[in-house]
Symmetry: C2
Subunit: 281 residues, 2 copies
């Protein structure tokens, strides 16, 4: 259950003429709240602001976003020290037609949900992945952003209902490896670390950015570039990242199996040491 708030008040509906409903004309962020504080907040704010500018939307300032979040946390029934906050921003209400109205007022909503609990075994042993049949279209104009146009992710996620599969990886329509339906992916190869570039499609996750920053600080090189699916199969180890659960090794994807190795454990320890204390100690 998610409790939604708008302008400091609970809200259970949005106007039927909001452009999110008709066009998906907006963006969202899913923020992990830990110890009562939004984790990786500056990355979330920066992505939302950068994405808004790319879509031609007025970027909300940090203080407005934070006050909406603080107000929602203060009113929600959920455990406000550890939960999930979804910030949803749309171009607002408008008459019929794709053209945005002059002087339109953005809609900003904050939803508070209970935190996910990822089983310890996922951290210890890794998770099962699958390769989705749904492909992501190559669209540089929207690449990297968490827009409200998410039909590809819906189709990909609805390909399986086997709860033993934790996540599905998606390729683009050219067959390159991009990301999971709600995660990014890193490969540990004989030639070093690599993660797909988010310049064609996919979402540039905040945890991906955090991991890249930690790797950089530790002097561990990670190549950010186009990745063919064959590199997935030939990798020594792979792991996924997400704002809520941090990093998780894959133990299987389709028929390929892996065992989380030394490099993954080193990276997981770096992530934990940075304050992303999600797994078993």
């Amino acid at each position: 259950m998610t409790e939604w708030f708008r302008d400091e008040l609970p809200c259970s509906t949005i106007p039927v003429d909001d452009r999110a409903v008709h066009y998906g004309d907006g963006l969202f962020e899913t923020v992990a709240i830990r110890d009562g504080e939004p984790r990786l907040w500056e990355y979330h704010v920066e992505r939302l602001q950068t994405s808004a500018a790319r879509l031609g939307l007025e970027a909300p300032d940090e203080s407005r976003l934070r006050s909406g979040l603080v107000s929602a946390l203060g009113r929600a029934q959920a455990d406000r020290t550890r939960c999930v906050a979804k910030i949803l921003m749309t171009s607002g209400r408008g008459p019929r037609g794709y053209r945005r109205p002059d002087g339109g007022q953005m809609t900003i909503l904050t939803g508070i949900s209970d935190a996910h609990t990822t089983p310890d075994a996922c951290y210890r042993d890794g998770v099962n992945l699958r390769l989705c049949n749904t492909r992501l279209a190559v669209q540089p104009q929207l690449a990297g952003m968490k827009t409200l146009n998410r039909l590809e992710q819906v189709l990909a996620r609805n390909e399986w209902n086997d709860d033993s599969i934790f996540e599905g990886l998606t390729l683009d329509t050219d067959g390159r490896l991009i990301c999971g339906t709600m995660s990014n992916v890193f490969l540990i190869t004989g030639q070093g670390l690599v993660t797909p570039a988010m310049t064609r499609c996919g979402v540039s996750g905040v945890m991906r950015r955090h991991v890249l920053t930690l790797l950089d600080k530790a002097g561990i090189e990670c190549s950010v570039r186009d990745v063919g699916v064959e590199e997935l199969w030939s990798s020594e180890d792979i792991f996924i990242s997400n704002s809520q659960y941090g990093v998780l090794a894959a133990k299987r994807c389709s028929e390929r199996t892996w065992r989380p190795g030394e490099m993954f454990h080193r990276i997981a320890a770096m992530v934990s040491a940075s304050g992303i204390a999600e797994g078993p100690a």
Copy 2:
């Protein structure tokens, strides 16, 4: 102004957890109501049902769609004999996450708006088009459908605010001509008629289908295939089609100008004779 109805009742809002808001997980149709009847109704219903099946959604039956429409028309303040009905269908409410809930109930809304009035001069002299910078991503899984993921159209339509420009044409990311932001396009060339295939991206418009059916009945061949943008510039004449206004010749696109020729007038007369009496008599 659009008046919205749901389950026979006026509605001004939708639940904040509807999957249209978060993912654009749904479809829509924009139906021209003429003489109190939905025009090209069977084409709208068929597209909605076919698209729903492709998205893995339960297809609403024709009688349910029609009764929603009739009820909305009966209650709306707009001129019920001549107006626009927008049918919006979503996968319904759901908890957080891309996965559709088991046993979810579709949302079906009907919105009634005043009819568009296209100036006589547009029918007589043609309209000005522009070529948009926004490209459409190649995504065969979504091609042809009117889904609620319309950010590309929003970006394309927001490229201009010069009211002398009637419509913008869009190319796909490979540079092929696809369609307008809210229309389809036909080229009249020295080698005959051609309209872009809707297998990579774009929307298969009901008026496009009607025109293709009329051409077929009249024994006029129209090739439906991939079209390079160079064919746009070298065409003898071009026209656009849309469920509300029928067909309109282009008099200009970017720097290229045309004069509606004999073949266009013949097609426009066929469309009029079929009951699409939008233009000047």
